[in-house]
């Protein structure tokens, strides 16, 4: 069988990435230029600074991805690119570069939703079996996505305010932890106890939506109040209390969705999918369900990267989904919602 090679682009936030993916599931190269150090100067991602770094890095990433994969343009079958959701100025660099490469080398262009990319990072572990459910948790997104068949995505629930990763960054700031705060809070949480019993917002509501802004405020108020009365709080306990509240809601809602809509696979994806607390809790819970397997996105592919865009792009390529030269960035791109009666 002829091999399929896709060059994929990702630039939706603070990582410029280009990958070469073979047959949708093998990474020949996956070059990621991360700007974290730059935005740490400001305590979070500054969109204009992000766009400026993307344009600095973009052709270096193409060059290195092709060199590492040892391919030429003649070997390629298609170009795939994230066109949303994300920061518009950042998305535009990847979209513009991908369009240009596709036109210059007469290759089809495949538009990829960034969240579909995160979900398809699981494809590097094993084939996805449908129906499947995905829990996508990152700095910008918290969504439960129902996947009845290949290439079809329906939102069952999403965050109504802060994304889970965003809440980690905001409470991290209060603890003196720079963005991205997730990994450090996760480590501290492993050492502490849930002594603060923060609220689990919407946990008992009859829907699959999330809310983390109340939890964030409760956390910040607790720390500020203690500061005012010169009381020292145990940071590890604070971290555990926060993380347990986040994980409780994420896992409770996911398990409820699984009970209502049994699936063959549950996919855990997105930057926060690298959180050890979340990974192990979900493992334990899903173990108790028969017939559902948990697929965790590989740790190295939880953050933004182009390999996952290539994996999703391969699926769309097979389905004949193409964009033309007028493809634009769509910062608010969303999957369709699963109709209420189907939830």
């Amino acid at each position: 069988m002829k091999q399929n090679l896709i060059m994929s682009f990702e630039s939706s936030c603070d990582e410029t990435s280009v990958a070469i993916i073979k047959n949708g599931n093998k990474i020949l190269s996956n070059v990621v230029a991360t700007q974290i150090k730059s935005h740490q100067r400001f305590g979070g991602v500054v969109p204009e600074v992000a766009s400026r770094h993307h344009i600095e890095e973009i052709t270096f990433c193409i060059r290195d991805a092709m060199k590492q994969a040892n391919v030429t343009y003649d070997d390629l079958d298609a170009v795939a690119v994230t066109y949303g959701p994300g920061l518009v100025g950042a998305l535009l660099i990847g979209v513009t570069a991908a369009k240009t490469v596709a036109w210059a080398h007469h290759l089809p262009l495949i538009p990829v939703n960034h969240l579909a990319g995160h979900i398809y990072a699981a494809r590097f572990i094993k084939p996805i079996v449908f129906p499947a459910l995905a829990l996508v948790v990152s700095g910008g997104h918290t969504e439960l996505v129902w996947m009845p068949k290949e290439g079809e995505f329906k939102i069952m629930g999403e965050t109504r305010d802060d994304a889970a990763g965003e809440a980690y960054d905001k409470i991290g700031r209060v603890l003196g932890i720079n963005y991205p705060a997730g990994p450090d809070v996760d480590k501290m949480a492993a050492k502490g106890h849930d002594t603060f019993h923060f609220p689990r917002a919407m946990d008992n509501d009859d829907n699959y939506d999330f809310s983390f802004s109340g939890l964030k405020s409760a956390f910040i108020n607790t720390v500020h109040h203690a500061h005012q009365v010169h009381k020292k709080l145990n940071h590890d306990d604070l971290a555990t209390s926060f993380q347990d509240a986040v994980i409780d809601v994420l896992v409770d809602k996911t398990m409820r969705a699984l009970k209502k809509h049994p699936v063959k696979q549950l996919i855990l994806a997105g930057g926060v999918a690298a959180n050890h607390g979340l990974r192990s809790r979900l493992e334990k819970q899903v173990d108790q369900l028969s017939g559902t397997e948990l697929i965790k996105a590989p740790l190295k592919l939880c953050g933004d990267n182009a390999a996952m865009i290539g994996a999703a792009g391969y699926i769309f390529y097979k389905e004949g989904i193409k964009a033309d030269a007028s493809l634009n960035a769509d910062p608010g791109l969303e999957f369709d919602w699963l109709p209420n009666e189907a939830k």
Binding site: N30, I55, E56, G89, L92, T100, W103, G303, S326, N328
Partner: protein, 248 residues
Amino acid sequence: MKVLAIDSSNQPLSVALLDDQKILFTTTMTAHRKHARYLLPIIQDMFKKSSLTPQDLDRVVVADGPGSFTGLRIAVTTAKTLAFTLHIDLVGVSSLLDLALNVQNEGALVNPIFDARNQNLFTGLYQIKNGIPQSIIPDQHVSIDDWTEKLSKYKNQFLYVVGNADHFKSNLKHVFSDHLIVSKGINNLPQAANLGLFGENKTPVSDVNKFVPNYLRLTKAEFDWKQQHPKAANKDDQSYVNEYTAKI
């Protein structure tokens, strides 16, 4: 030599295709600001109607700033990616110089202007010598008061103003009075055909990968940060980005 020229620095989008000194195709539009959506389709259409393929291209000339940050990045990303992927020459030309090319009177002092809001402008002063604008005062981001002061020593000469100068006309009139000549209509729009003709004779950039727009203005976040960290202020921007390979 087949040359593609692009200017999307501001509201106008201008694209041209040239073969040596012959203009094959040129277009300038101001109907909208969706440069990301329209630029490549325009290029595609030009090549198709000229019976050319991307592989025929020898050089890309791009207006590289100053201007709207996002607008600049559309043209510069397209130009640098094309030059990189086709292994062809890339030439960057000041977006202000591109506008100055609209004035061709020998010896004329030309003042191209982009409105940068809040009484600020992106501007520079040029003089036409041998038919080509030469920089007299470098391109800069400046307040209108500071700019008119810099121009005051030229007040006895004629000043040709091109671009988006509506907000600054009275300030300039105050200095130059009857010597102020404000361009009209098409002369206030960048013409990529002029850009292409000009760029054919320029030395291409030595490293396409490192080519970025000349924003002439830091982001507010960076400006504030550099004020607070004067020692680290001269650090190369790229050292804030780490490249790694993510495989499983």
